[in-house]
């Protein structure tokens, strides 16, 4: 029997326990802990890549404790691995490996619990990706959440981290309770927790109100986790205060896992039963576009580099949700490729920001202007990653975004393309503006907005700052990640493979048969027609255009004060700053009020559309 599917969760859990137990015994030889933790994360990554490659021609199912389904009813818990789920889990493991390698020299003193929490976080993410059981999904969701809250508050010396972690924990726990209520409702209706079995059961009956409410409640926790507007407020607060290596995981993969959860839940349980594909698609696309636009606008206005990157993640989450919400194979495939490309470059950007913090002791763009000139390698890596974020070919981001745009174009939503190009230019432009100002000293420092400066100066004691050399363990991970993002985009037939995986993922009947009857599905049935994945000249033009636009916007933002026609001291977007502060108040009560209002709207819209 092949045990790889169990080992990818069991190994990090065992290692977490072993590190906690052995940590105090090691005394000074703590480096051993770092080495063990990195080795475990890397081993998990390798195992997951093997699973990903192996499942290209058919999903694999693993029944824990050996309890196979009994006449179509699941008794135990299963893992169901396909290329998409294993690929996302592999991304998580790769980013954990990179973050831990980076942490080797980053922290002044790493407590044992840091490794423990990183490994439980990893186990939670992997379990969440692979599970085929809705309650098990919730368990791993919670393990991921609890580890993440604790890691956010890793530097409790200051008020900020505790505040950010509390906002994160409260909003996400509210979501978790709602999700659990939804799971209880669906169990009350079906007497089952296995997703395939639930899907079969509710598909036999006409869609009713209980199923609609259960669906909305289950995805509410996932919408909050994936920072979809108006459920996104916690994200920037948590990113601003979490240690930079932890931000890598939050932005690079945790937010995306929330979206994956929505896709998994929809295509394994509710897709066929709910019907009304158009209404559901429109709801998700509307949420996605709103999120993409809001995130991009806030991103451009930000001066705190970590918050800036966090808002860019929100903008991208909106684009991913749009890709998934199209409910087409190419849309989902595009989102998957985009998630991987984005995860790699965003992680590199955060790691470079960590180097800046390590060397210069600040993440305030205004203060840093021109001060990073001597960080040449870091500057090059950061700039390349910024171009990747702006969808420059041949980064994998370019392919993924191109597929999402192409699929929305072909399905009667041509306006998505220009809107997303604008979002990419705004978010990419903001990152490239940071690159040009901090690492090359181009143009003028942006004027100091007192409130923004206050937010940006919170960063102090995360790392020993003011070192005069960048350790290799800190610069190699981001460089490798950027190279991987390019290499991934150069794989020929990547689009075809991703679309095939997406078709498999969306084939609910095939999924059910694989899980409950042990079938090996050779030819999954596409939920919607497959679309061409070739790269056309207009795709390349759109990607290059986004990148050129982002560069132009960045240069404009750096140099426009030198234009004689403009009054000095005028800063565009001051109104936006006020808006950010009004919405992003840092008061968790506001955030919860937004969550409740948002859910009422989403629920109302779906209830109205489906019944």
């Amino acid at each position: 029997m092949d045990q790889l599917l169990a080992l990818v969760v069991a190994v990090p859990l065992l290692a977490a326990a072993a590190i906690t137990g052995a940590g105090p015994l090691l005394g000074r030889r703590r480096r051993l802990l770092d080495a063990v933790a990195i080795a475990v994360a890397a081993a998990v990554a390798v195992m997951l890549v093997v699973i990903m490659v192996r499942t290209a021609d058919g999903d694999e199912v693993y029944w824990f404790a050996g309890f196979r389904p009994f006449h179509g009813a699941a008794i135990g818990i299963d893992f169901e691995a396909g290329s998409l789920s294993a690929g996302l889990a592999a991304l998580a493991a790769v980013l954990v490996t990179a973050a831990m390698t980076f942490s080797w020299r980053y922290f002044e003193q790493v407590a044992t619990h840091y490794h423990t929490l990183m490994l439980t976080f990893l186990a939670g993410m992997v379990g969440f990706c692979l599970t085929g059981d809705i309650f098990d999904l919730f368990v791993w969701f919670e393990l991921m959440g609890v580890s993440a809250y604790a890691l956010t508050a890793y530097r409790p010396e200051e008020g900020g981290p505790i505040q950010g972690a509390l906002n994160f924990a409260i909003t996400n726990s509210v979501g978790a309770y709602l999700s659990l209520s939804g799971i209880a409702l669906i169990y009350g209706r079906t007497g089952a927790l296995n997703m395939a079995q639930i899907g079969v059961y509710i598909d036999r009956h006409p869609p009713d109100r209980l199923v609609v409410v259960a669906f909305v409640l289950i995805i509410s926790g996932l919408l909050i986790k994936s920072a979809i507007v108006p459920f996104h407020f916690w994200l920037a607060d948590a990113h601003a205060v979490a240690p930079t290596p932890v931000c890598v995981l939050f932005s690079g993969v945790m937010v995306e896992l929330g979206l994956y959860g929505i896709a998994r839940v929809y295509w394994s349980m509710f897709g066929q039963a709910l019907g009304h594909r158009a209404a559901i698609s429109h709801t998700f696309v509307a949420l996605g576009v709103l999120t993409a636009v809001a995130g991009a606008l806030f991103c451009f206005r930000e001066r705190h580099i970590k918050r800036l990157l966090a808002f860019s993640t929100i903008s991208h989450a909106g684009m991913f949700l749009t890709g998934i919400g199209l409910l087409t194979p190419l849309g989902l495939a595009g989102a998957a490729v985009y998630v991987i490309g984005h995860g790699l470059v965003k992680a590199a950007l955060f790691l470079c920001t960590g180097i800046v913090l390590h060397r210069l002791g600040s993440v305030n763009e205004t203060w840093l202007h021109g001060r990073g000139r001597h960080l040449r390698v870091t500057g090059v890596v950061f700039t390349l990653a910024g171009l990747g974020l702006a969808d420059l070919p041949p980064f994998a981001t370019f392919l993924g975004k191109g597929y999402v745009d192409a699929s929305s174009w072909a399905h009667g939503l041509p306006w998505v393309l220009p809107v997303f190009i604008a979002c990419t230019i705004l978010a990419g432009g903001a990152v490239l503006r940071v690159a040009g100002g901090v690492f090359y000293g181009l143009g003028d420092a942006p004027s100091e907005d007192p409130e923004m400066a206050e937010m940006a100066s919170e960063e102090t004691t995360e790392t020993v700052s003011g070192r005069d050399r960048t350790p290799l363990t800190m610069i190699i991970p981001p460089a490798v990640l950027v190279a991987a993002a390019i290499a991934f985009g150069l794989i020929t037939r990547l689009g075809q493979v991703a679309q095939a995986a997406a078709i498999r993922f969306q084939d609910q009947a095939g999924y059910n048969a694989t899980v409950l009857a042990g079938a090996h599905i050779l030819h999954p049935v596409a939920a919607a027609a497959a679309e061409p994945t070739g790269i056309t000249v207009s795709d390349v033009a759109a990607g290059t255009g986004s990148a050129v636009g982002a560069i132009a916007l960045a240069l404009a933002a750096l140099y426009w004060r030198r234009l004689p026609v403009l009054r000095r001291g005028y800063e565009p977007g001051t109104g936006l700053t006020a808006a950010i502060q009004r919405f992003q108040s840092g008061v968790v009560n506001d955030y919860v009020a937004w969550i409740v209002l948002g859910l009422a709207c989403v629920g109302g819209a779906l209830a109205f559309a489906i019944t």
């Binding site: 029997m1 105090p24 008794i75 929490l117 604790a150 010396e157 009350g188 909305v216 008061v587 009020a593």
Partner: protein, 252 residues
Amino acid sequence: MTPGQRRAMFLIGGAGLVAFVVWGLLGLPGFGHYPGPYGFIINRFALRQTHATGTVSAVNFDYRGFDTVGEEFILFAAAAGVATVLRTLRGERERSPADQAADRDAPPTSGAVRMAALMFTGPLVVMGWWLTSHAQTNPSGGFQGGVVLATAFIMVYLAGEFLVFERFSPVDVTDAVEAVGAGGFAAVGVAALGFGLAYLTNFLPKGQVYGSVSSSGTIALISFFVGMEVAAAFILIVVELLDQTLLIRGGG
């Protein structure tokens, strides 16, 4: 946002959400209409398959044992999180609380409280241990037993002093016990792999007698490890919290 605006927004949204959820709840099956099939299958097979008369434990530690590993590690991560947030920080040092009132003695714990606490300690240990070790015969198990065991330690704190309590449960030892508990559960799962079975398969002999303490294979073993982990995690959390409140900390 002003508190008034927030309240208005929450009330509007809350009313909408409540209306939506209630609308859905009205679609639940009537009371007593269990749709099955999970409960029926478990009731029919659990005793024969696991030799455990505690069917709830059979589900927790055997059929859905993999969920329970995750749940146990949620508590484990939470305890690690508490220890992280409340750790003694750079620039902080600890002093004994006695320094604060040098001119007078700390008020002694009243004899009645001491007696009551001591009276409870023994029974609590027995009860905690009984709950932890009887998962297979009734709906008890390591989660409940572990909490009761931790309470026995907290009785020591009530009966005596915090410093005595801390000597009973030093953080490093509690950490180690917790790690063995959590790791032990995960390791029982891995042990099954050695027999070519799926992770967490109940690979031990299940005994001849239904519902005896020695029956049901790995269920008893897992429950024992869970009890260890839960007791240690709760003691750890209490020690950290008391540390934070009772020891004086400050810079310099």
